[in-house]
Amino acid sequence: MKPKDLPEGELRPVFNESGIEIKPLYTTGDLAASGGEAMIGLPGQYPFTRGIHPLMYRKQPWTMRQYTGFGNAADTNERFQYLIANGQTGLNVAFDLPTQCGMDSDDPQAEGEVGRVGMAVDTLRDFEVAFEGVDLERITVSLTINGTAAILIAMYLAMAEKRGYDLRKLRGTAQNDILKEFIGRGTWIHPVAPSVRLVGDTIEYCTKVAPKYSPVSVCGYHIRESGADPAEEMAYAICIAKAYADDVIRRGLPVDEFAGRLSFNFNIFGNLFEQVAKFRAGRSLWAKVVKEQYGATNPGSMWMRMIAGGGGGGLTFEQPEINIVRGAYYALISALSGAQTMALCCFDEAYTIPSEYAQRVSLRTMQLLIEEIGLTDTVDPLGGAYYVETLTNQMRSRMEAIMAEVDAQGGIVNLVAEGAIQAKVSARAYKRQRDIDAGVFRKVGVNCYRTEDKTSEMEFHPYDEDDARAQVQALDCVRAERDGARVRAALAGVEEGARAGANVMPAIMQAVKAYASVGEITRALVAVFGRYIEPVRF
């Protein structure tokens, strides 16, 4: 309804994307009606609504970790060095699709895809080259890998060990959230049940061998990109985190031994206050779940540590330069939300792999908030605002309702296996697209304030087919040099471990150290676990 159609004196009703009606004014009465101040507390104290640390950015600003990787390991190493030289404090590695789907660079299905959207990895040799000269104690590395996460975590640990790092002190993160891959992103390999088991294997193994390493980063991010609203993004992510926790607890691991190393990855686009409330609500909800449902006693187990930013779904193909401004608002939201790590999609990302220039603009956007805009001076600066606190309570209630619905319908693992969550979020994506096309859901430059000016020049990331050929040659060299008998024995060990129901990580470590390839190890697992068949449901 347009304002002019309303009777005089009446305001157009406003709802946020999560379906909560927004009033023109909030007072203490609204806060009381939404549940009051019971869940606010103090930063660094349960339920952590205001932040997981008492001093937050006053003590240490967020980590800045732009998503990067392309071509081969040497190309990627060069971009890493560029970002570190420009003040980036962590690395977030992108892998090409064959690596993500468990195929070697010489697989027929990898044709045209090697090194295209990320770095190609075949063997441990690629990891050795990619991280050469990177101080793994100072720069923490996040691996954006899921279907083959067990293999790439093993490669990372083996590489660090070879360089003399103590695995018991090694920090870093792997995305390793396979359940969300079935909902969005799509780099699954095995059916749902063995896929969840593999995530459990990595958590259990890292807890014992590399206890400071974060083996999982549960992603609401891609569920939101696939169409979910912000409350669903958070609620489904918590359901998924619980599914992994349940798997590990069934193995007898106490919650306080691993929950502190689970981390999260969330999206930021849309309404500022809705996002801030989403994070504050989600943080307290996760703390409550871990404490009350799992009986954790260590406060660190209850922390929702998160990377928040990105915002790919909010950026537009039209007028790409205004994506710089959107990115700045998303970074502001992330800072107001108490994220531990920030990454921004770049203004050219609707077109291409970001240029160095675009990456630097994103990095400077985050640095501005620290150096000029005052976002690190005080903790949770929006805390106590009637609107923000009321909305935080309302978003938490909505998330709890979504989680209860998931449980009533058989749990997140079953709903994902049936394709039910996928159908639900894609229906939402369709509705949003119809609303955008109809001009009801406003996007600047898309359905309002359009301009027919020529789009600014984009620097397209070149795809180098010679790089792909060089990658295949390098793989051939590794295959020729390695000890074939040792590789065969290690791969047999992987298959045997998978079949016996043992934790397969020690066997994968042996295989990786023998320079077995991603494709070879994946095939050994597929021989036991099989391949996922996508349920098509609308």
Binding site: C101, Q109, E113, V117, G186, T187, S426, A429, Y430, D437
Partner: protein, 132 residues
């Protein structure tokens, strides 16, 4: 095509690209427009897309590509579609398709090109007007 027969569209996700939000949105729009739609799911090889299109007796073969491998994929797909006798069907493609690639896609036989930000009704209308 007789008036009674509904237009049948195969919507396919070529290669390893896992971004299916857009493809699924288009599937729903085509279904709402009254077309019969077969969605292949992710990770289809060129051979699989040619086979499904033949088996389903598709009028329209629609690809969705977001991860940049559209040109090498379409170069491989074209002779397979031709071999299966599907050259007279309507081939279209949508997704992250840089402008400089459009000429080659057209030359390869993809008559409708719908880059990111295309409106759903444009896709629907194009199919209605051009389906064999």
């Amino acid at each position: 095509m007789t008036a009674a027969k509904r237009i049948k569209v195969v919507v396919a996700k070529p290669g390893l690209d896992g971004h299916d939000q857009g493809a699924k949105v288009v599937v729903r729009a085509l279904m709402d427009a009254g077309f019969e739609v077969v969605y292949t799911g992710l990770r289809q090889t060129p051979e699989a897309i040619a086979r499904i299109s033949l088996d389903e007796d598709a009028d329209v073969i629609a690809l969705s590509s977001m991860a940049g491998a559209h040109l090498p994929f379409c170069r491989t797909l074209r002779p397979l579609l031709e071999r299966e006798g599907l050259a007279d069907k309507l081939w279209i493609i949508g997704g992250n398709l840089p402008t400089e690639d459009h000429a080659e896609l057209l030359a390869l036989g993809f008559r409708g090109i719908f880059p990111s930000s295309s409106r759903l009704e444009h896709i629907v209308n194009f199919i209605r007007e051009n389906s064999p």
